[in-house]
């Protein structure tokens, strides 16, 4: 009876209570930040004595915030494209290939996901110092691609594994060349996997802070590095405004993701 919600009796209310409190615990800090970003108190007093858009106008008035956001966006966009393309090619090999060490290779491709990021950050920092990529756009893209690629390979190869290869064979028998069959039949059929790969890759790069702290230079810093540097000095409400915009972006991407999932089901 423990797995029948209606027949739990008093236990039902205990469990619901814990769940409700946990949900609030997870949700409140996010709402709190959004509220503070409109509060007039410099010292982040809650509830705020008044409401203002000052922190947003400060944020948009400061060219360093804007340029770091633009840098982040450019890096994330390039990483997304490369990660999806490389993920696609690699997934075809991993899923369709029948070679020795296929599983080992798959595990290797996913290792950057489980490695502590700080180790990778320090290792790449040392490596890039030697080959002169530190503080460059290329350096950022390469290091974020290392982190994003596993997510891309995982989403695309999962989608490809669930796709029946007979469908591609059918397209070939219908007269399409193997490449044409892949482009016109297989890619549209696994598009949800490609789309997830793109979203995961973008977010991985856009939100990444540890590697970015090591990669950045005074002239090239991403938005998370700017937030980090600001936070190390003080807790200005301008960060609340920036965070709120980041939360908004998350909500939009989540909604987009949910829409794609839904579109896939219907």
């Amino acid at each position: 009876m423990l797995l029948n919600f209606e027949r739990l009796g008093w236990l039902k209310y205990v469990l619901l209570g814990i769940t409700l409190l946990t949900a609030l615990f997870l949700l409140l800090p996010i709402i709190f930040i959004a509220a503070l970003s409109f509060g007039s108190s410099q010292w982040l007093i809650f509830p705020p004595p008044g409401w203002t858009l000052k922190w947003y106008s400060d944020l948009f008035a400061d060219p360093r915030w804007l340029s770091s956001a633009w840098t982040s966006f450019r890096i994330a966009a390039i990483v997304t494209v490369l990660s999806v393309l490389l993920g696609l090619v690699t997934s075809f090999g991993l899923v369709r290939g029948r070679f020795l060490f296929r599983k080992t290779l798959r595990a290797l491709f996913l290792t950057p996901m489980i490695l502590p990021v700080v180790v990778l950050a320090v290792a790449l920092y040392a490596f890039f110092l030697k080959i002169g990529l530190n503080g460059t756009m290329t350096g950022f893209v390469i290091s974020h691609l290392v982190l994003a690629l596993p997510f891309s390979i995982l989403s695309i190869s999962n989608a490809l594994e669930r796709f029946d290869k007979s469908i591609e064979d059918a397209a070939v028998l219908c007269g399409a060349s193997p490449l044409e069959a892949k482009i016109r039949v297989t890619l549209p059929a696994i598009s949800h996997g490609i789309f997830s790969a793109a979203i995961f890759s973008f977010l991985t790069s856009w939100d990444e802070v540890v590697v970015a702290i090591f990669m950045s230079s005074p002239t090239l810093r991403t938005l998370p590095v700017k937030v980090w540097a600001t936070l190390r000095q003080d807790l200005t409400p301008v960060v609340a405004a920036a965070s709120t915009l980041l939360i908004l972006l998350t909500v939009i991407l989540m909604a987009l993701f949910a829409l794609v999932r839904k579109g896939l089901k219907s």
């Binding site: 423990l2 991993l94 990778l120």
Partner: protein
């Protein structure tokens, strides 16, 4: 003559598919394997060949305290997340799906929200004049503000907040897979609620709990951002120590040695997970 054996399906042997994994393989070899290995090598090569870095790292009380902090915080975060996570996952698995969808949305929102934004929220909430202290004082629980930030308490609260979804989701998957008829059978066998919980439900979720707990523990060990922002300078964790060796002290030997310790512990725990509870973590996604 070769034997005639039934083939399950027409097997198309295509070794050339291997080639399409080469670009990614080359990329990771150059920008992942080589940098990590050369970092680790520096721990035995700098300043001169030998194990002196490890002797220093494991022999000094300053560094041992960092290891101790790291393990303690990770352990506490894991235990607290598991204690809260189990009832939540259990409820999610059986509650009406419309409500569950709302809780799921909150879980995902919190997971996907920028890490710095979340950590910033806790820096503000936990500070001396922050909402938590104000509320506790308002309720008369305390009369002086507690030091909740710039110490391990702050780190533990902030990390638990981050890790909770990582334990709830796999546990949810495990509980979902249990057939409710098993508990009906337990009831028919005469088990009361407490016996059904401790002798049937909990044992069946042990693999999921082990998988989730190991994952949270390992992730906590290597965490950098949250400890750096919510913790104090006197209570460092391992990831911060590695960064400090490299950034402020420019001591690559020690940095490499600390990285190797973290890497060995991480990979060992993952190997344990793959060996014993591998399938469970997959099911929980």
């Amino acid at each position: 003559m070769p034997s005639v054996v039934a083939l399950p399906e027409v097997a198309t042997v295509k070794r050339r598919e291997f080639r399409s994994t080469l670009p990614a393989l080359l990329f990771l070899a150059l920008f992942f394997v080589v940098p990590v290995i050369s970092l680790l090598l520096r721990s035995v090569l700098e300043p001169q060949l030998g194990l002196q870095n490890y002797v220093e790292l494991l022999g000094s009380s300053t560094y041992l305290k960092v290891f101790f902090n790291t393990f303690m915080v990770s352990a506490v975060v894991t235990i607290v997340s598991l204690t809260i996570g189990f009832p939540v996952a259990w409820t999610l698995a059986i509650m009406p799906s419309r409500w569950a969808a709302i809780v799921f949305a909150i879980l995902l929102l919190s997971m996907w929200t920028n890490l710095l934004a979340r950590t910033y929220a806790w820096m503000v909430l936990l500070q001396r004049t922050g909402l938590i202290n104000k509320m506790l004082m308002g309720l008369g629980v305390i009369d002086k503000p507690l030091a909740l930030v710039n110490n391990l308490t702050g780190v533990t609260i902030g990390m638990t907040y981050i890790m909770l979804p990582f334990i709830i989701l796999p546990l949810y998957g495990t509980i979902r897979k249990i057939d409710p008829a098993i508990l009906q059978a337990a009831a028919l066998c005469g088990a009361n609620r407490w016996q059904a919980l401790t002798r049937v439900l909990l044992p069946l979720t042990v693999p999921g709990m082990a998988a989730g707990a190991l994952m949270v523990f390992v992730m906590s060990l290597g965490y950098f951002v949250t400890p750096a922002l919510l913790g104090g300078t006197s209570n460092m964790m391992l990831a911060e120590l590695i960064a400090q060796f490299v950034q402020s002290l420019v001591n690559w030997g020690m940095g490499g040695a600390a990285a190797l310790v973290l890497l060995v512990v991480t990979l060992t725990l993952y190997a344990v997970q793959l060996r014993f509870v591998g399938d469970e973590s997959e099911g929980g996604r």
